[in-house]
Symmetry: C2
Subunit: 220 residues, 2 copies
DNA sequence: TCACGGGAGATTGTTGACAATACTGTGGGC
DNA sequence: GCCCACAGTATTGTCAACAATCTCCCGTGA
């Protein structure tokens, strides 16, 4: 299970620096990650680079091949769909559980997010909407308090950043997903686990449909 | 993501040996795993022991604390329930997908397992039934061909062996789970994904109920 | 021209030693 | 008797050097 604290140790520093570099797109999928180079770049010993690479391999962000070193893992659209399918059912579980545990205070926080989302969409602020999207999902996870599901979702998300970026940039996407988000929020506020799960699953299913579109268009 | 091949390298040897030792119960939850000791026991260098420990930590089987070494991870009944909940939804996904992809040949293999299960139950062969249980779930995963789900389920299962052992030893358990298994098989054979998912989820939900029983009884 | 082998360079795998840290028990002060 | 500081030990963290392996290119022979 992922979730690594300790941002102080050199290995952890290297790990986070490398993680961000990969997510930022500085190292492209399939690109080799040479230990000596990384060691120099991040100013840590090769030993620590190795540790970092192993950690990131556990997160599915890089792939290490015996005697051949590490490379940025390439996740095909097919894989992205698989990953999203798993995310769909796990986030469904989380949504259901959130519906059974939500407090009144959390319910109004959900409402607030819904309001901000509507505003962002009507103002055409896509970036802001995307941030709110993350905030909403994170809030739901917090409400659910399901650590096992949390860490799995975190791992899955980590592998998808590149694809998710493409999705969020799709024109018209917010208009489609806003009502889905509203439905999820409403179900949780009504403390209806079944409906919350269904709503969450349909939401992510629609994301998957979009991924399938990419696949057909050969965009990745 | 787990799934590590290469049983030839020393680190992999150590990893598998240690994994089995833990699963066999030679090292109890909470027990410290001293690198030097393991190094001597498995005849590999401390370096390789370290690598093995890191790998097993990624699998959630051990926990490594900075400057304090590794110990066998203790999974409480609460956690076991959380893990099983995630497993429930992911295996549900797998069952649904199996229903859409099953070939005629695979369908008859499912039938065969069902037959053997019925025989094992009526003959009171619990150990055999437990093996068939594993075979059934594995077969369903093969049919589904969902690698992401597979590797997650493998990780989750690995953390549960201790609890699963207790479950399978429960008297009367096979009589409860046999009809559930039959229902799953039937749904897949009918190529009914929705029903397959529901049946699988209800099956695992019933396992979770049993775990809750342990919790109340303070058995773990 | 092509297939093959072999060697140089690049890169990863492994080791043993040492440094840093945590644990344990002992003795002194109160 | 109890608490705390302190030293000694056990254990993990890190490193730099060396070994093993792979990759790529070049020369040789057919």
């Amino acid at each position: 299970m992922p979730v690594q604290p300790h941002s102080d140790t050199p290995a952890a520093q290297a790990r986070e620096a490398l993680r961000e570099a990969i997510l930022r797109g500085e190292y492209l999928p399939g690109e080799r990650l040479v230990e000596a180079q990384l060691s120099q770049r991040f100013g840590v010993s090769r030993f620590n680079v190795r540790t970092a690479l192993q950690d990131l391999a556990a997160d599915g962000l890089v792939e290490v091949q015996r005697n051949r070193g590490a490379l940025v893992r390439k996740v095909s659209v097919e894989e992205a769909i698989e990953i999203s399918e798993v995310r769909m059912v796990v986030e469904g579980l989380v949504a259901a559980r959130a519906a059974t545990r939500v407090t009144d205070e959390q319910a109004s926080e959900l409402d607030e997010v819904a309001l901000l989302m509507r505003r962002a969409v009507s103002a055409g602020e896509f970036r802001r909407y995307s941030d709110l999207n993350q905030r909403l999902h994170a809030l739901i996870r917090t409400i659910a308090g399901h650590r096992t599901a949390d860490s799995i979702i975190a791992t899955l998300r980590g592998q998808l950043v590149r694809h998710q970026f493409m999705l969020s940039m799709q024109p018209g996407r917010p208009q489609v997903s806003l009502p889905q988000h509203e439905r999820i929020i409403e179900a949780i506020r009504q403390r209806d686990p079944k409906e919350a799960e269904t709503a969450m699953r349909e939401h992510i299913a629609s994301v998957i449909e979009n991924l399938r579109g990419f696949d057909g268009a050969g965009l990745v």
